[in-house]
Amino acid sequence: MLAGFGMMTESIYKSGSNLEKLLAAGQFVVTAELGPPKSADLEMIKTKSGYLRGQVDAVNITDNQTAIVRVSSLAAARLALEQGVEPVMQMTCRDRNRLAMQADILGAYLLGIRNLVCLSGDHQCFGNHPTARHVYDLDSIQLIQMVRDMRDRKIFACGEEIKNSAKAEAKEPRMFIGAAANPFADPFEFRVIRLEKKIAAGADFIQTQCIYDMDRFKRWMDMVRARGLHQRCKILAGLTPIKTAGMARYMRDKVAGISLPQALIDRIEQSKEPKTEGIRICVEQIQELRNMEGVAGIHLMAIEWEHKVGEIIGLAGLLPRPTPPE
């Protein structure tokens, strides 16, 4: 540490979040997802937080996912934090322009939020306000760059310094920056290039779209490693446990950018206990991903199944979760 800075100590971390510290320490991390309620329902946030507390290292708080209005990710992230869960706040480009984004990032930081995932956002046509006007002032890559510039260059998107007056000290929001990657969308050969653009823009970690087609994911990881991208950012492999064969077919047929092999659907269909089989498949996937070079952790998106996350992580041998270093 440099002398002459008084009590100030320069942290080796960008944000100091638990997620960042664990990844820096080389731990195989586990993140989960908490979808905020569709009403002013505090209890639901508390209940879901309770399922996830201590079972995972951090929890993504989704931002009007599938373009359906919910409690804001900012508020829900703070409430989750109060419940003892480290939040990863998601922010989409669909609903906010660059002014609102930066204001929310400043506010989120003051509320103790240290992880931010930057997303394009689902198109409004999928949600409950299909006649809304979307924003897309920025796209996800430009958002990543903006959050990085706020943290590392202490400037707003307009180039002004983040300070109250010319003589004031800059007080910048320091976020650990996440981004998404979808190895299953097209054009396949461009997906890794787009990942690289996100990393160059400032993504510290990546959470992928949920993986069912392990062969295609392996091919994507081959391309990731060939470019050395796993050394420039931490890659968390996305997983969503399947509850029923119907859900599997829906995801295969209706959700763009998801590749779901028939063999998996057959396993669920032929099982007498499809939910148990879905969890078994998920645990097998975790084991396979743990042994894959360049995969730094998993992102478990158990949609409306938060209470099963602890069981899955436990079966995968990933409990107890490690304590982050100081």
Binding site: I141, A185, A200
Partner: protein, 235 residues
């Protein structure tokens, strides 16, 4: 060209309720080409209005219905409704009517309204977009007039118009087999088109650098956009 389509007849009839003598005014440029507001459409719409089941002839309050409920329509089509000079020959005709039904795009309707300050001017069309004719009866948008054209960077395919999210650094995760998740049957992924085009041109490296945030003030920033060119300003 500007592509437009005719409004539902009931909406048009609603506007004309109470009027007795209406100038049905076509435009000879874009909307003629896209078969929405040219001479032919003027004739068709005028006859529908005259004959069409006792429509717009509700007498205005306090006016005695002496015309047996008939709407009188005058028809005309000028070369361009976005240019004031073309209105000169129809000025007298317009003044003789108590309303104008314009089959121009929104630009023409607004200019007509400005030129005839005491005359109600109604739109007969919905102005859709600037685009191309793709096949018989099919048109597609190609330009949003964003005011800051980057087609030179994106291989001649506009991400603002063609991408459902107007992403500058696409494609997002909703691109599958060349189609956009917003409507996989009908909407091509604009970013797949950009990718394919730049690949064919051997210029994929263009996409390696992130495109910076757009300057949307060139698109919409309060008040109508204006253009003033010193080189053509007439003393």
């Amino acid at each position: 060209m500007i592509v437009a389509e005719q409004k539902q007849i009931d909406e048009i009839k609603g506007y004309l309720a109470g009027h007795r003598r209406v100038l049905v005014l076509g435009c000879g440029t874009c909307v003629t080409v896209c078969l929405a507001g040219g001479e032919r459409e003027v004739a068709t719409l005028a006859s529908v209005l005259r004959l069409g089941g006792g429509l717009a002839c509700v007498p205005a309050p306090g006016v005695r219905d002496s015309g047996e409920g008939k709407l009188e329509t005058l028809e005309n089509t000028i070369e361009r409704q976005c240019d004031a000079e073309f209105f000169d020959p129809i000025r007298r005709q317009a003044e003789s009517c108590d309303a104008i039904l314009s089959l121009a795009c929104g630009v023409g309707v607004q200019l007509a309204a400005r030129l005839f300050p005491n005359k109600p001017v109604y739109p007969a069309l919905n102005t859709k977009f600037m685009g191309t004719n793709e096949a018989g009866g099919k048109w597609q948008e190609n330009c949003l007039a964003c005011g800051d054209c980057k087609l030179g960077v994106f291989g001649g395919v506009c991400p603002v118009t063609r991408c459902s999210k107007s992403l500058s650094n696409g494609p997002c995760g909703g691109s599958e087999e060349g189609m956009c998740e917003v409507d996989p049957e009908r909407i091509e992924c604009g970013w797949q088109l950009i990718y394919d085009r730049l690949k064919a041109l051997g210029k994929l490296e263009t996409l390696l650098a992130a495109a910076p945030p757009r300057d949307w003030s060139k698109t919409h920033s309060g008040g109508p956009r204006r253009l003033s060119r010193e080189d053509v300003v007439q003393g």
